[in-house]
C-alpha cells in the first residue's frame, strides 16, 4: 500500500488532472503528507479542500474545506487543526468543522457523529478512493 509523498502524488495523478483542478502537495513538520485541491468546474462552481494523512493507513485522513479565495492568499496557512472556513463544506460537524457528511475522514467519526462505514486500515486504498470520489461528486 502506498503512503507518504507517493500517496499524495498518486492522488494528484490519478484524480486531479485537467483544467478543472489546481493542486499543491507537501509534507508538513510532523512529516504528514497533505494535498490541497481547488476544483473549479465553472465560474459559479468551485470548491477548495485538503486532505492530511496523519497515521495513514491506520487512521483516516483529515478533510478540510476553505473558501476558494484562500488559494491566492499568500499569507494564509492551511491549518488542518483548524475548523476550515464556515460554509465552505456542505455541513458542519458537531465540533463545528466545515465538512461533508461522507465516510472515511476523521471528523465523520468524531464525537460519535457516525458509527457506520468504519475505516478499515487493510482496505485503506479503497476507503480513500471512495472518499475522494464522494468529494468530487459534491464539489
Amino acid at each position: 500500500m502506498i503512503a507518504g509523498k507517493e500517496l499524495v502524488d498518486a492522488l494528484e495523478a490519478n484524480y486531479f488532472e485537467g483544467e478543472a483542478f489546481h493542486v499543491r502537495t507537501g509534507i508538513d513538520r510532523s512529516e504528514c503528507p497533505w494535498i490541497l485541491v481547488l476544483v473549479r468546474r465553472s465560474e459559479a462552481s468551485a470548491r477548495l479542500f485538503g486532505l492530511r494523512f496523519l497515521d495513514y493507513p491506520s487512521s483516516p485522513p483529515t478533510l478540510r474545506f476553505w473558501r476558494t479565495e484562500r488559494w491566492n492568499e499568500s499569507s494564509f496557512a492551511f491549518d488542518f487543526t483548524s475548523m476550515g472556513d464556515d460554509g465552505s463544506g456542505l455541513v458542519q460537524s458537531p465540533a463545528g468543522v466545515a465538512t461533508m457528511c461522507i465516510p472515511f475522514h476523521v471528523d465523520y467519526y468524531k464525537g460519535a457523529w457516525h458509527g457506520d462505514r468504519p475505516w478499515l486500515p487493510e482496505a485503506a486504498d479503497n476507503c480513500l478512493a471512495e472518499l475522494v470520489v464522494n468529494i468530487l461528486r459534491r464539489a
Binding site: E122, A123, L128, V132, R137
Partner: protein
C-alpha cells in the same frame, strides 16, 4: 465493433489501468463484459467477490454519467492499452 475489426494486439487482449487511489494494470479483452473486467479489478484491489457488487467501473471519478453499464462489453467503451478506468461505488442520491 466486431472483434475481427480490432487491431490484432487489442483483439488478443490488452492492459487497462484501474484506479482506486493507487493504480493497477488489469488485462482486458474487447469481447469481455464490463462486469467481468470489474471482477478482475476488484480482485486486484483485494475486494472479496461477494463485495464486488458494491462497485462499478467508470471513465471518470465523481461523475455518475461516467459509470459503465456492466452488461456492455469492453469494446463498447473503446477501451485500449493504457486506458484509465476508476473503481467507484455507484452513485446514489443519498
Amino acid at each position: 465493433m466486431e472483434t475481427s475489426e480490432l487491431p490484432q494486439e487489442e483483439a488478443k487482449g490488452f492492459e487497462v489501468t484501474v484506479i482506486a487511489t493507487s493504480a493497477k494494470k488489469i488485462k482486458a479483452h474487447p469481447r469481455e463484459l464490463i462486469a467481468q473486467l470489474k471482477l478482475a479489478a476488484t480482485a486486484a484491489f483485494g475486494i472479496p467477490p461477494e463485495k464486488a457488487g458494491d462497485y462499478r467501473l467508470a471513465s471518470a471519478p465523481g461523475d455518475p454519467a461516467a459509470e459503465f453499464d456492466e452488461a456492455k462489453r469492453v469494446a463498447d467503451y473503446h477501451l485500449h492499452t493504457g486506458s484509465k478506468v476508476y473503481l467507484v461505488k455507484p452513485h446514489t442520491d443519498a
